[in-house]
Symmetry: C2
Subunit: 233 residues, 2 copies
């Protein structure tokens, strides 16, 4: 089946963002220009931009133009960090410790990340909420796609802003699978709880703008003071 014309325009723009030709925050060509460049009608160009906007890839500003969405530390943090106080209040997680390792990928990691990386960067972080160590987070990305990340001594609190600014990688969506587990010795020490305490285990797969799996992350969370919040519609 032939691809619809607006999809061709979308793919074209997404590819330019993915390659870094269009940077976050930069202005896209006008509808008329896009139509001329891609050989489609202006209506089709408009439809493409509307769909990109619905997906949060671009932002249209009345009378100014259309811009590539720039992820801010706060939008990155609170869209993807779902732990809240019981009353719904947002909490800013703080970094307690961080250990970055570059190592061979396991078979599961090679299958679970696009590009089948031979080696990965593993970032193990303890985050604290309201002064209490609450989340033990292990993040794994391809060492090829994110070359040099393993050599960084300091990483910002929100990795997704770093991915976007330094690797042109926009994390657009993520899938999380949540289960309950019991703290083992390693986790109990990191989170300062007893072995056997119940914890949430949140396993995330993050997808970039081309819908490739760019990151896997496992977060073990204390939920005696905080909850993982979800809105269903």
């Amino acid at each position: 089946m032939a691809q619809p014309l607006y999809q061709k325009v979308i793919d074209n723009i997404v590819a330019k963002i993915a390659s870094g030709e269009l940077l976050p925050g930069s202005m896209l060509p006008s509808e008329m220009q896009i139509a001329a460049d891609t050989g489609v009608s202006q209506g089709t160009a408009r439809k493409s931009l509307m769909m990109l906007e619905q997906h949060g890839i671009v932002r249209r500003e009345q009378g100014r133009g259309t811009f590539v969405t720039a992820r801010t530390p706060d939008s990155a943090l609170f869209n993807f960090f779902r732990l809240r106080q019981r009353d719904g209040e947002m909490i800013r997680p703080e970094l307690v410790s961080q250990k970055v390792t570059v190592r061979r990928a396991t078979a599961a990691e090679r299958r679970g990340l696009d590009g089948e990386p031979k080696s990965v960067v593993e970032i193990r972080r303890v985050r604290s909420l309201k002064g209490k160590p609450s989340v033990l987070e292990t993040t794994v990305v391809s060492a090829t796609r994110f070359a040099g990340l393993g050599q960084r001594t300091a990483l910002p609190n929100t990795l997704y802003v770093h991915y976007q600014q330094n690797y042109g990688c926009i994390v657009l969506r993520a899938e999380e699978a949540i289960s309950a587990m019991i703290a083992d010795e390693d986790t109990a020490t990191a989170l300062n709880v007893e072995v056997g305490e119940p914890l949430l285990c949140v396993e995330r797969v993050a997808f970039d703008i081309m819908d490739l799996r760019v990151e896997r992350r496992r977060s073990l969370c204390r939920t005696d003071s905080f909850v993982y919040q979800v809105s269903l519609t």
Copy 2:
């Protein structure tokens, strides 16, 4: 500040759905008719219908008209039931046992449900996934708002369809707060696990079309074979 005109139209339609004057599945008046009835322009009527559609309250069918959304058992089930197999496959929960009680509301229940009900209907159900008892669910609603619900001997698997068909109550959205806990004796017996097994505790508040809190539900879930799945964007 004056309410925008489209909001007046929206409130008017929502009130008619809430009162049962407009039933699920029924056709709304035309844009022109709505405009004439409410004293707004046809453009405003159109905007109101678009917003109602975005909220899933109505469905517009090209060339046919606009209809009040009817919740089907499947849409009700899978929008609000987030347990999945690890591979993402949906699972249809089956009812193992059910106990319905009418009792005085606790102070927390009076505060936690709109209308401050003096008495509530409590529905305690064990659901099984793939033949294994997996969810112990305790649902509480106002005994006034849902008069007669406590006398029903058999309730359908999906309560939200029952609420809509018998009480004109459309559950539009829900907030869930997830934490990890340890199975106590009562739960362990119901779910056929050892005392001390880790479980997910999912606390839900469900909102109707007027954004009133109509139901509270606590689900204790085994997650040794299943996970609670969330999509983040």
